[in-house]
């Protein structure tokens, strides 16, 4: 699976926003590449127990076995791949609403670690194709990150090098 995205972070204190663009690639099981292409390059790769985070000047490879935060992210990711995130409600309270042309799924974190970062996550799924179209991450301080997805492609073979940890 692959798609493009436009991400906008609204910063309430500065009355300002930051906009970036990039691409996402996903391959089962548990391989994810999230790359920013504009205005700056930045790259995340999830592959097994390794997470790569890097740009021109700084690169890190994190072992999720030794990093609690990244391990939690990876665990949630895998739970949602298998659908457990919807049925196992230990991480989030899940609410589904009819939002005219979309389904709106709202996730409210239950755990302290996630609560420290997010107030809620809103996801909009197009009713026609059940594809995600938009995502909002709302923080406790009212800052909000909006991600709009486009050019969604599924069931295509992706180059394994996309997920290789440099």
């Amino acid at each position: 699976m692959s798609c493009s995205f436009v991400q906008t972070k609204h910063i309430s204190l500065l009355s300002d926003k930051m906009v970036s663009e990039g691409n996402m690639y996903y391959s089962q099981p548990g391989k994810l590449r999230w790359e920013y292409t504009s205005p700056y390059k930045y790259l995340f790769i999830f592959n097994g127990t390794k997470v790569y985070v890097g740009n021109n000047s700084k690169k890190d490879v994190i072992d999720t076995n030794t990093n609690k935060v990244f391990k939690e992210v990876a665990r949630i990711m895998m739970n949602t791949v298998t659908g457990k995130a919807l049925s196992n409600t230990s991480d989030f309270t899940v609410n589904v609403e009819d939002a005219q042309t979309s389904w709106l799924i709202t996730l409210v974190p239950k755990k302290k670690e996630l609560k420290q970062m997010f107030a809620k996550i809103e996801m909009f799924f197009n009713k026609n194709n059940n594809m995600i179209s938009e995502l909002n991450i709302v923080e406790k301080n009212k800052d909000k990150t909006n991600i709009k997805f486009s050019d969604i492609s599924t069931n295509k073979t992706l180059n394994a090098n996309l997920f290789a940890i440099p």
């Binding site: 300002d16 994810l32 990711m77 949602t80 995600i132 301080n141 990150t145």
Partner: protein
């Protein structure tokens, strides 16, 4: 529905990875940005540091690599006081915030020449426009560096 769930999984994974390092703010004449890194004994915090220089205050926000606002503050140019508006959960303790306020103020002294007393606890180094301020007493190092533009490669 399968695709729906798959996307759900991806998006949840993005919760942790929507780095703002690839972002740019809508430009205004008084807004500046750079990379920051705060290294402590038990970990570090990094991402983008954005400031807005107003007539009577400097507003600042540190957005971490998860895309989450980690620290935001207001520095009052008249009273020379700094107020932390938002601090991410694991730093949101009174004794940490007290140190953060002092350190950020000293960093602003170095970066923006706001008034501050000389303090032997702080060690400052500058290289190629990058600035490092170390609180030697608390063993915390604050680094500020240019953001790499997109004409480079990250791999």
């Amino acid at each position: 529905m399968r695709i729906c769930l798959l996307f759900l999984s991806l998006l949840l994974s993005f919760i942790g990875v929507n780095a703002q390092n690839g972002m740019s703010e809508v430009e205004t004449p008084l807004t500046e940005r750079c990379m920051f890194d705060i290294a402590m004994e038990k970990g570090h915090l990094s991402g983008i540091f954005i400031t807005k220089d107003m007539d009577d205050a400097i507003l600042g926000t540190m957005v971490n690599e998860f895309g989450i606002t980690a620290i935001s503050f207001i520095y009052d140019k008249h009273s020379h006081k700094i107020k932390l508006e938002n601090v991410i959960g694991f730093l949101n303790k009174w004794y940490i915030k007290r140190v953060l306020k002092q350190d950020i103020r000293y960093c602003l002294h170095i970066l923006y020449d706001v008034p501050a007393k000389d303090d032997k606890n702080y060690i400052v180094s500058m290289s190629d426009g990058n600035v490092t301020v170390t609180n030697s007493k608390r063993k915390i190092t604050y680094s500020f560096s240019h953001i790499q533009e997109q004409n480079g490669t990250e791999e």
